[in-house]
Amino acid sequence: MSDFSSDFWTFYIGLITVVSIIACALLLYSYSTARAAKGDEAGTTGHVWDEDLAEKNNPLPRWWMWMFYLTIIFSLIYLALYPGLGSYAGAFGWSSRQQYDDEQKQAAALYGPIFDGYLKQDIKAVADDPKAHAIGQRLFLNYCAQCHGSDAGGGVGPNLRDDVWLYGGDPETIKASITNGRLGIMPPMGAAVGSEEDIKDVANYVRSLSGLAHDASRAQRGKVKFAAICAACHGADGKGKRELHSADLTDKDWLYGSSEATIIETITKGRTGQMPAHKGFLDDGKIHLLTAYVYSLSQPHRQ
């Protein structure tokens, strides 16, 4: 509970609080009556402005004064029951952390059965359930849309609506990707490929693979370098290797961009694409529904 660096502050704050409350009580007591000046006109405070404008003593009702005393009694009871005096935890032992945990438990008890119902079903069956789809979309907009885009069409992270999957688009693999995350690394290959010209040659060859505009003579030279260096991961045909999760360079899907400059940057500096693991952050029920939602996105007949 205590975040103070030393016990001194507990006493310091506690003392100020208690002394202030006592001072309030004393002030209230000393101001419940007043001394009227000699020969004072009844009921005025003796203050006069503009010759004849006098301040009247229009007394508050007595019960009002008791309300002031009640606030003092309330504060003492409150400070005994709840934390307020330094690091004293209060008789109820209340803490905001505990309240948060309790509310989490309440929410789990309330919504848990809904998720449990879907957890028992196969992901493909859940993907066909319109209600699950609506829940899945809300979860996706909350947790995934920042990288994959609100429409799941990609952005920082890959497009999830097409049929291009580095790791596989079957329900189990999607679930594994969400649960454990993925780390896709393209190492920096600048030094291995050679000079800037060599790199540009390879970039032109890569563009030629997917039919983009390129310099044919550069591509011709780059092809040799590609076969020697890049083919190890991307395959001799550039279609990528499923077991290595390397990218298919012959399709139209570009996670980092297809311009010559971007490809040169990718080759020179490498790329690290990380999908964070959601295990522990999202519970099984949410991951299950998200998997079904993501799976349904790439199944045109379903949606």
Binding site: Y31, S32, T33, A34, R35, A36, A37, K38, G39, D40, A42, G43, K56, N57, P59, L60, P61, R62, W63, W64, M65, Q137, R138, L141, A145, Q146, C147, G149, S150, D151, A152, G153, G154, G155, V156, D162, D251, K252, D253, W254, G257, S258
Partner: protein
């Protein structure tokens, strides 16, 4: 001033003065007359509306329901969403300005006839009179020793008060939790903790304010009572005692020629003080405690009848009218003065704006939220895309089908499955993408507009602007 005098010793030494006073119990005497009838009528009217409206139904739901949990306020055919907060603001401004106007013209009309504090005090007084009798009987009962009769009357009175107060609390909560589900819950003692708390809270507030606090609420708590003096002027209708006609006051026999005896019309019977719910003497002039209930007018007029004198020794009049001997026509003429004209003009303007906005209000609202993590993305065809979330709110109580279009950049395409069904009184989040050819727009941001329209009713539409980024 006079109340304080006894506490100060008339000697020339410093004396102890209490800064808090003990309340004197006030026993208002029952009164009948023109203004009392008006108050009874208004008490009945306001309470029939208050206790009754909660039970009305409208298209299968409670007609007036403020659903705080769902953040939807149902007022007959109207469903008000949090986005309509401007209407509440305007309503409050209209209420405040009306109060200013009525106060400037006729003083504390609100206090005297319609304020819940007055209304409930009046009802509680009826109960009190029915059980304990009128002023004198109540005073005698309170002074007497506690015997069975007194105990019975007091218990009966408080039980009746508490019953009415709880019904009031129940009705009030019934505007926030459907009253027809609340009623069986109360009957079956299966109320939720919050409903229980609020019913008891408002019940206690009613019982305490109308049974015990009464005029003290007006004297010590009510802010309106304190700032209304700045809205008064010399042409404001107030309840006045005509001192010129009344003084010097004194008792006399009915047949005597009081003018010859050097007396005014006031017979000093004290009825005006006895009927006053705030315990003041109106003959001392305008006082801040006066809530303008006109009980003293009714009381005095009846005495004047008995004496065979003209009505109006105490009457609604204005400071200028009493001083300048205005006729009624002059008082009416003085209603038109800069202050009231300005209040009326502003009131009229805002009321017109309120009604116009309400009439033009479209039961469809849209918010556009741009995806911010990725400003632009490239499609497989090399086109540029921006992604948005449209939050489409159908505030009507029937489902709706909408069509979305977008404009702003030549050749721009909107990517979203259409049309879109929005269920009744629901907000739907629809992710959409806008797609352009990079050649059609320069790098930077370009304004775009989304246009959402009901597929069958083109009057129900909403426009929202956003930005399209090109890199």
């Amino acid at each position: 001033m006079s109340q304080l005098q006894p506490r100060l010793a008339p000697v020339n030494s410093p004396v102890e003065v209490d800064l808090y006073e003990v309340r004197r119990e006030i026993y208002p005497r029952a009164v009948r007359g023109w203004f009392a009838s008006w108050r009874v009528a208004l008490v009945l009217l306001t309470q029939v509306v208050f206790y009754g409206t909660a039970w009305l139904s409208w298209n299968g739901r409670q007609a007036v329901l403020f659903d705080l949990a769902a953040r939807k306020f149902y007022i007959f055919g109207l469903v008000v969403w949090p986005q309509d907060f401007i209407f509440l603001t305007m309503l409050l401004i209209i209420a405040a300005l009306s109060l200013f106007l009525f106060t400037a013209v006729a003083g504390r009309l609100w206090c005297g006839y319609a304020c819940p504090q007055t209304v409930y005090t009046e009802i509680f007084l009826w109960i009190e009179r029915f059980i304990e009798g009128d002023r004198m009987q109540r005073m005698r009962l309170d002074q007497g020793a506690l015997d069975t009769r007194k105990l019975f009357k007091k218990t009966f009175k408080h039980l009746a008060w508490i019953a009415l107060a709880l019904w009031t609390g129940f009705t009030f909560v019934g505007y926030f939790t459907p009253i027809r589900t609340l009623a069986p819950e109360v009957a079956g003692v299966s109320l939720g903790p919050w409903e229980t708390f609020w019913i008891l809270f408002y019940g206690f507030a009613t019982y305490g304010n109308a049974g015990w606090m009464r005029e003290q609420v007006c004297k010590y708590m009510c802010p309106y009572a304190r700032f209304q003096s700045v809205m008064f002027d010399s042409d404001t209708l107030i309840i006045t005692y005509d001192a010129q006609r009344g003084e010097p006051r004194g008792s006399r026999s009915k047949s005597a020629d009081y003018k010859a005896a050097g007396l005014g019309a006031c017979v000093d019977c004290g009825i005006c003080v006895q009927v006053c719910p705030t315990g003041i003497d109106i003959r001392n002039g305008l006082q801040y405690e006066c809530i303008g209930c006109a009980a003293c007018i009714d009381g005095c007029d009846r005495v004047m009848d008995k004496m065979g004198y003209a009505h109006g020794l105490i009457r609604y009049s204005t400071e200028n009218a009493v001083r300048g001997g205005y006729r009624d026509r002059d008082i009416v003429r003085h209603v038109l003065r800069p202050r009231t004209l300005v209040y009326s003009a502003i009131l009229l303007a805002i009321a017109t704006a309120f009604l116009a906005l309400l009439y033009l209000r479209v039961p469809l609202k849209v918010d556009v939220i741009r995806d911010r993590a990725t400003l632009v993305r490239e499609t497989t065809d090399g086109l540029l895309e921006n992604v948005y979330r449209l939050q489409i709110m159908n505030t009507a109580e029937r489902p709706r089908t909408v069509l979305i279009t977008a404009s702003g950049i030549e050749g721009m395409r909107l990517i979203v499955p259409q049309p879109i069904d929005v269920p009744a009184a629901t907000m739907l989040t629809v992710p959409v993408a806008l797609r352009i050819d990079s050649a059609t727009a320069s790098p930077g941001s370009h304004p775009v507009r989304f246009h959402i329209e009901d597929s069958t009713d083109p009057r129900v539409r909403a426009d929202e602007k956003s930005m399209f980024y090109v890199r």
